[in-house]
Amino acid sequence: MKNHVFRPLIVVIGIVLLILAARFVYVPKDFGSYERGYIYSWHRQGDENFWNKFTIKYQGKEYCKDCHEKNFTSINKSPHRIIICENCHGPAIDHPSEARSKLVIDKSREQCYRCHVKLPYPDTARGRIKGFLDPEQHNPGMECVTCHDPHDPKLGGA
């Protein structure tokens, strides 16, 4: 065997072994192709746990029932019963136990504009919600909640 062939060959083999060794150390043990085969599920299985354990923030309407009975019962009798409390008050997370989950009270008119600015789209559900093409005509400059209780918005016998 001639040296000028053999020596570079050893170097090449060495590099290949080094890469394989590095790969062995670096690639986590749970890396593999799982249920959906090589093309679609070649991944680190541990990552599924990361996503499964993500913190839940929206707790749903029933969560508020026992502590805020007044608002809960009144909203359920009103057309706003379809809106979950957290849409207006923000995610409960672990309210009321933690300081960070003190819920928002947003009295802005914009909060109500999301649904009550009438858009002239006759065939959409939006076009059928009661509201105002120009909301600045309906008691401008005042908070809506001055007159309408968001948990029971209808006024006078309607």
Partner: protein, 258 residues
């Protein structure tokens, strides 16, 4: 003596040897599961006719999934389409509709604003969009490092610790649902809120929608209301011609939607 013939022979043997570790790796996982009755396959149903464009779904998604609230990226969004009598289509989704549609002005960001007279409108509608969790996700196929993958329940996820931020998946997705997370700088997308599904809850956007425009279901359960709707009604998917087999089904979708 290393003849040319031997050299070729040894190199071939060596190459075969190098290929072995890959083969072993590939066979460590279990074979693709043939869907048994207990396996779930999450699918989504959007009823476009029920959407009013209030944007509560986008607000909830951003809060639930820690997508920075004021960054102009979102895992889900709502598009507004206004078709005028001259046949032109005007579409927008300002801030992904996080704050809802509260004016008649079509706001296409740097493409400018358009004011359309109500008398000129021939039809208008809202279309909520999110990741289609395709049966054949193109975004997964192109990932060079195995950072994005599909779970056995059909959900396409991104491994933030493994993503190198090359952006191939963002370009490969025909639906434009992927973006870089402003904090982690890795590819980001809708997860169908798997953390909620596994706790027996609905995804945040489904929970937040007051009008029932968004629903989640298990395609492998024939008694699931969503599965029944998909099987018994005229449903559509987006960009069927791409062959990705999207699993977000639409009721009442109009042909102008892209």
């Amino acid at each position: 003596m290393l003849t040319r013939r031997n050299f070729l022979k040894y190199s071939l043997a060596g190459a075969a040897g190098l290929a072995v570790p890959a083969t072993i790796k590939a066979s460590t996982g279990t074979a693709p599961a043939a869907g048994t009755a207990t396996d779930k396959r999450w699918v989504f149903l959007v009823d476009s006719t029920k959407c009013v464009g209030c944007g509560m779904c986008v607000k909830a998604c951003k809060n639930e999934n820690e997508v920075p609230y004021d960054a102009n990226v979102s895992r889900t969004w709502v598009e507004r389409y206004v078709v005028t009598k001259d046949g032109k289509v005007h579409a927008d989704s300002p801030k992904a509709a996080r704050d809802g549609f509260t004016t008649q002005t079509i706001d296409q960001g740097h493409h400018g604003k358009e004011i359309i007279k109500p008398a000129d409108i021939s039809k208008a509608f809202f279309v909520p969009k999110l990741c289609n969790h395709c049966e054949n996700p193109a975004c997964v196929q192109v990932c060079p490092v195995g950072a994005t993958y599909q779970t056995k329940e059909g959900v396409v996820l991104v491994d933030r610790t493994w993503c190198i931020g090359c952006g191939y998946c963002i370009m490969a997705c025909p639906y434009g649902v992927r973006f870089f997370h402003p904090v982690y700088h890795t590819a980001e997308k809708c997860t169908f809120c798997v953390h909620r599904l596994h706790a027996g809850l609905k995804p945040a956007c489904v929970e937040a929608c007051p009008f029932g425009a968004r629903q989640i279901g298990n395609r492998n359960d024939p008694n699931d209301p969503v599965t029944k709707t998909i099987l018994n009604n005229k449903v559509q998917v987006l960009k069927e011609e791409y062959g990705t087999k999207p699993q977000v089904y639409y009721l009442g979708l109009s042909m102008e939607v892209k």
